[in-house]
């Protein structure tokens, strides 16, 4: 199981660039599931818990959580050059594709098969994101109090549609409190 392995001590510059190039290239429906797939399951750079913590830091900072994660992971393994390589790798292919799509879109938007494919991919992408969260939860096995925090964030943002910033502002201190209590227990 992925949760059992140790993270790596070193990851080379070329490896970082190629890994994030792949993450960016695969990243349909958002990057986090693919980042997890490549970093945890495929290349084993980090443990599940380390990755979740980095995503968590990325989440509370402004900007996309995965872009912040790329900065932190790049810095951790290769300093400033690592940061730049991770960011460039992550953005390069998507930038080319999105402009090509933008140019092609006007010509093909009316074709029913194109619309159906986009709808199907969007539904799959939603499942991909939800499945990734469930898998991370299964591997990390949060203790009861932490699980309550997870459920609270899910209900508030996912079901009730509350704005993210105040929810994060409330949940982060609660999460830290839960971690403190659970460590003591």
């Amino acid at each position: 199981m992925a949760a059992g392995h140790e993270g790596r001590d070193t990851v080379g510059k070329a490896e970082l660039f190629l890994g994030f190039l792949k993450i960016g290239m695969l990243g349909f429906g958002g990057i986090a599931p693919w980042a997890r797939h490549v970093i945890i399951e495929e290349r084993r750079w980090l443990t599940e818990k380390e990755f979740a913590a980095i995503l968590g830091i990325g989440q509370v900072l402004p900007g996309p959580n995965t872009m912040n994660a790329a900065v932190i992971i790049g810095d951790r393994f290769q300093g400033v050059p690592g940061v730049l390589l991770c960011l460039l790798g992550q953005m390069l292919v998507p930038l080319v594709i999105v402009t090509a799509l933008g140019a092609a879109y006007l010509h093909f938007a009316d074709v029913p098969a194109v619309q159906a494919a986009v709808v199907g991919a969007a539904a799959g992408a939603a499942g991909l994101v939800a499945g990734t969260a469930l898998k991370m939860a299964r591997n990390i096995r949060p203790r009861p109090l932490s699980l309550l925090i997870t459920a609270g964030g899910f209900v508030a943002v996912g079901l009730l549609g509350w704005p993210l910033v105040p929810v994060v502002a409330v949940l982060v201190p609660l999460g830290i409190g839960a971690a403190t209590l659970e460590r003591r227990a």
Partner: protein
């Protein structure tokens, strides 16, 4: 297209970069307000198209900003918008990353990290549900979403297989 000055693009997106907690999906309403209402760079329909295209492409959803820059001011607009949305938040992430690793041995830092784990889990799950709501076009799309989620949970194979299958199924059924 319009001759929106690059400096304005840089200003708008670098400020958005620093307030975009939660990434592109969470910041979407504010991006729309700036681009459509405040600056008039795009119509509502044009903005909706940009949103759809950027979600059909791989990569971070924030790439929508690059597409907006490109549609408003060509290649220079794309580069300026991309850098403007990335540099401020990435610089902040870098500072935080350095600070955390300097204090890595401090017990408070490991508690903060541990405390962020369940928050991140809940919010990722929430964004999956929010995406599902947007993608919902009837029972088949829900089934594709649930099947893909199950595939990810129970298999270590590349999730692209599930995405491709869902897309193909939709084409065949449609």
């Amino acid at each position: 297209m319009s001759d929106a000055p690059l400096i304005e693009i840089a200003q708008v997106f670098s400020i958005l970069s620093l307030v975009s907690i939660g990434g592109a999906n969470a910041t979407l309403p504010e991006i729309q307000r700036q681009v459509v209402d405040v600056h008039g760079w795009m119509s509502d329909a044009g903005f909706a198209d940009a949103f759809a295209i950027s979600h059909a492409a791989p990569g971070p959803n924030i790439i929508m900003v690059s597409l907006i820059g490109w549609q408003v001011a060509g290649l220079a607009g794309l580069l300026v918008a991309t850098l403007a949305i990335m540099v401020p938040s990435c610089t902040l992430a870098f500072i935080v990353s350095r600070t955390l690793s300097r204090w890595a041995d401090h017990p408070a830092v490991s508690l903060i990290k541990a405390g962020l784990v369940p928050v991140a889990l809940g919010l990722i799950l929430a964004s999956g549900v929010a995406m599902m709501r947007t993608a919902d076009r009837g029972p088949l799309t829900i089934a594709i979403g649930l099947a893909t989620a199950a595939f990810v949970v129970f298999s270590r194979r590349n999730p692209l297989w599930a995405l491709g299958a869902g897309s193909a199924l939709m084409v065949v059924a449609g």
